[in-house]
Amino acid sequence: MSFLNNYIYYIGAFGLIFIGLYIILVKRNLIKVIIGLSILDTGVNLFLISIGYIKRGTAPIFSRPGIEAARMVDPVPQALVLTAIVIGVAVLALALSLAIRLYQHYGTLNLRKIKEQRW
């Protein structure tokens, strides 16, 4: 039980990462691959945030006078994830636009049927 208590966030984050990786490796529909990419992105963000967490920590904001600095969580991963989320949205939109173009060109989203994309 203490194992779960200690590692539940890591397990959750890497669960999402592996679900995303599995989708990217196995699925043949391009839209599903993009969904997998998005899930993977979420997992990485969650993992970064959970690395910075400190037991019973507070948000790193001195909004009230009585907040002590010793109990604040690590602000660096939060600052990284802050920008990564917005960039993730933009990259997702870029991937979707490429999918639109591929569909217009080949008439299918099945990666098996798109010759140049086969692996």
Partner: protein
């Protein structure tokens, strides 16, 4: 076959990660640099939100790079979709229902106001330019859903986007001229926890708010235009 290979690869990766993760305890302080920012952040930058002071002061140059990535992704999306722009097929747009139409016209200014509040107070409360920009873009999604056929002006969004980027770079260059290195916080820090504090941080965050908001809404605009 594909599934078996995929699962096998995942198993190997998972084993490697599990072995290395057991050495990283959850919930314990890990980096000294984070501790330094928390201890000295308010005094050195004037921003009470330490995440903001990391994003825009200690790692401001890094943020400029990230804003550039966002910009390039938007440009790429525009480039990929414009080449395929065919003749406008005159499809009839079904008007939204009365509730949606009225609600979106009522909520649009309020959401814009909320987004602006979020990025103006980025150095005091949770939030900032990236989050405020995303909220502003969500207001434009509402417009596309509710008031169909209405468009944001392309010139306006390009102008806001370019101005946001320019302000960021110019503030950095002024810092280079005044203080000796790029993005130095050359304005007075002020009293912590007041709106006019933290020097250049609110200025840059407002610029980022405009930039992110217009970029995300131009992404939405491009995708909506493609679907019609």
């Amino acid at each position: 076959m594909r599934k078996i290979i995929g699962l096998l690869l995942l198993g190997i990766v998972a084993w490697g990660i599990a072995v290395s993760l057991t050495r990283i305890p959850f919930g314990a302080p890990k980096t000294k640099v984070g501790r330094y920012y928390v201890d000295k952040g308010v005094r050195e930058t004037g921003a009470t939100n330490i995440v903001t002071s990391v994003v825009l002061n200690y790692r401001g140059f890094d943020t400029l790079g990230e804003v550039t990535v966002l910009f390039i992704a938007t440009i790429g999306l525009g480039a990929v979709l414009t080449t395929s722009r065919r003749k406008k097929s005159e499809r009839k747009i079904e008007p939204a229902s009365l509730i949606l139409y009225t609600g979106c016209r009522f909520l649009f200014p309020l959401i814009l106001l909320f987004g602006t509040y979020i990025f103006i107070h980025g150095h005091l409360t949770p939030g900032g330019g990236f989050q405020g920009g995303a909220i502003i873009a969500s207001a434009f999604v509402l417009i596309y859903l509710g008031c169909r056929g209405r468009r944001i002006s392309e010139l306006g969004s390009k102008l806001a986007e370019s101005l946001g980027g320019l302000v960021f770079v110019i503030v950095g260059l002024v810092g280079l001229a005044v203080g000796g290195y790029f993005l130095i916080n050359f304005l007075p820090k002020g009293i912590p926890n007041s709106l006019f504090s933290a020097g250049i941080i609110p200025i840059i965050y407002i610029a980022i708010g405009f930039k992110v908001g217009s970029e995300l809404s131009s992404i939405i605009d491009n995708l909506v235009e493609e679907s019609e």
